[in-house]
Symmetry: C2
Subunit: 314 residues, 2 copies
């Protein structure tokens, strides 16, 4: 399939074209430049909702329930499950997707896992690109579920229009941990498995944590939704909260701001990737000789970096 034809099919929401385009994103294919140029005028319509939380909290189950809720409202939904690409456990995590097969025959649902590369490979434009593809394909809602527990995965979910942070009772200090790194990205908290012992304590802790932050009256205060996702309990309330947050973003100008920030990170990631590929091209480049000197202890790594930057002209 040539690229103009792929773009045309993507814009019609063709499933095979979608699967192919996301594979091209995963592989960092050179066709991406042309694809993204073709899709750009058709983006910015989908609502993007991110789900993140510690392992065992029920992220897949909750995403699955959210898909049902969206379908009940007549919305088409794409799910992008971003898995950390681990040489040790990658395969096992992907197996989880099997649970999503309930929606396999529904033409209004598209589900896709995508590997998230390590920071040294640095494809940090990959998730934004995949969102761009799903957006241009015309889905009303795109759910981004991050399987990993790392900072990178939290940041991917945190770039959504609305970010849901999942907790569960009896998961030790999950609230405590959330306090450390996740409070900034959470627009909505959901306590899953809320039929278990300790659910009220978890709710109380989250509310205390939310109350601790100073906010103006106009600022959004993250609500806490109690859920049992596996029985669809609380999912309607979750959806109502997502709607309320989206309406808040639209009325305050926050939506345009978030999307500008998301685009900013995407562009910055592309710029850094293009620069990375230019640094040290050819064995005679400044990087090669500088690296040799650094290894031999005759130049320090910052002085070496200055040399490379000078050669780049930057």
């Amino acid at each position: 399939m040539d690229t103009p034809r792929l773009v045309e099919k993507l814009l019609r929401g063709d499933r095979r074209a979608l699967a192919r385009a996301i594979t091209l994103v995963e592989n960092g294919s050179p066709e991406l430049r042309e694809i993204m140029a073709g899709l750009a005028p058709h983006t910015g319509r989908a609502r993007v909702v991110g789900f993140t939380g510690p392992p065992g909290v029920g992220k897949s189950t909750t995403t699955n329930a959210a898909v049902r809720a969206a379908r009940a409202r007549g919305l088409s939904v794409a799910v992008l499950a971003v898995d950390p690409s681990s040489p040790f456990t990658g395969g096992a995590l992907l197996g989880d997707r099997v649970r999503m097969q309930e929606h396999a025959t529904d033409p209004g649902v598209f589900i896709r896992s995508m590997a998230n590369r390590g920071h040294l490979g640095g494809l940090s434009w990959a998730a934004p690109h995949a969102l761009r593809v799903l957006d241009a394909a015309g889905f009303d809602v795109v759910l981004v579920e991050t399987v990993g527990v790392g900072q990178a995965e939290v940041e991917i979910a945190g770039r959504a229009d609305t970010t849901v942070v999942l907790c569960a009772p009896g998961m030790g200090d999950s609230v405590q941990a959330a306090k450390a790194g996740v409070l900034e990205v959470a627009d909505v908290f959901a306590v899953n498995k809320a039929d278990r012992d300790g659910a009220k304590a978890t709710l109380r802790e989250l509310r205390q944590m939310i109350a601790m932050k100073d906010r103006s009256d106009e600022e959004w205060k993250p609500p806490v939704v109690m859920m049992v996702a596996v029985r669809d309990e609380g999912v309607d309330e979750l959806w109502d909260r997502l709607d309320a947050h989206f309406a808040h973003l639209e009325s305050t100008g926050g939506l345009a701001e978030r999307r500008r920030l998301r685009a900013r990170e995407e562009v910055q990631a592309i710029v850094l990737d293009l620069l990375r590929s230019r640094i040290g091209v050819g064995d005679d480049g400044a990087l090669e000789s500088a690296a040799r000197e650094v290894a031999e202890g005759t130049r320090d790594p910052y002085a070496a970096a200055d040399l490379v930057l000078k050669e780049l002209g930057a």
Copy 2:
């Protein structure tokens, strides 16, 4: 403590200076430039051994046993435990370090955990910088233990002079998984918990996997060591294999090559970080206006990246 004094103390192996310098590395402090310049002439002496493997395989126990083996040979040892910085589980993983307290009063041993930031934060020079500090402080051996299971952690361990990949029997498809992403980085395989059922099967699988790769006679063929690290069984053999690999690297010129590659990645990471901090400085920068256009769909992200590169002069 001012920077020249910190460098002077580091070169004498002062413990407080070491702890402080690694904290400066974690925080990406501006003093690093001057510190690295001061340390550069004193680097390149330590042997760096990396340990990686799936969770539950006994990485801490094995590292600990390797520390005892090194001490028995009269070598001073630093351990750098690189933890993935997870907003959800970060704290729990660090608790593991407590096991290392056996060596707390030994002046020939220094143990330090360091958080590994997510790829979006991008401090990929952090682990190489920390190695540089420990090397300049005069340790004979630096053991790098990566706690995470992600590609990033494997790559950090894989940058050592010698990389040990740990497996254990009865861990399902750990060998299978190792095949996918770890074979390239393994110089030595260690089967820990070799007193358990299935140890022979694990050994056989590993040997088959190693045999599958074409190698010239001069090329290093990774040996497999059977261990029960918790009882120090197999640790002497492990150390012999590490020595053999190091001797091989020295005799073939592979050591200089590996260290050149390590320095190359470190310099490249600094260059990219310096460029990242220059891109989009100020609200009127090309990045800000380009991001707005991308968010509005009037420019595609690659065309936007070209604009930003043009403004950078690169």
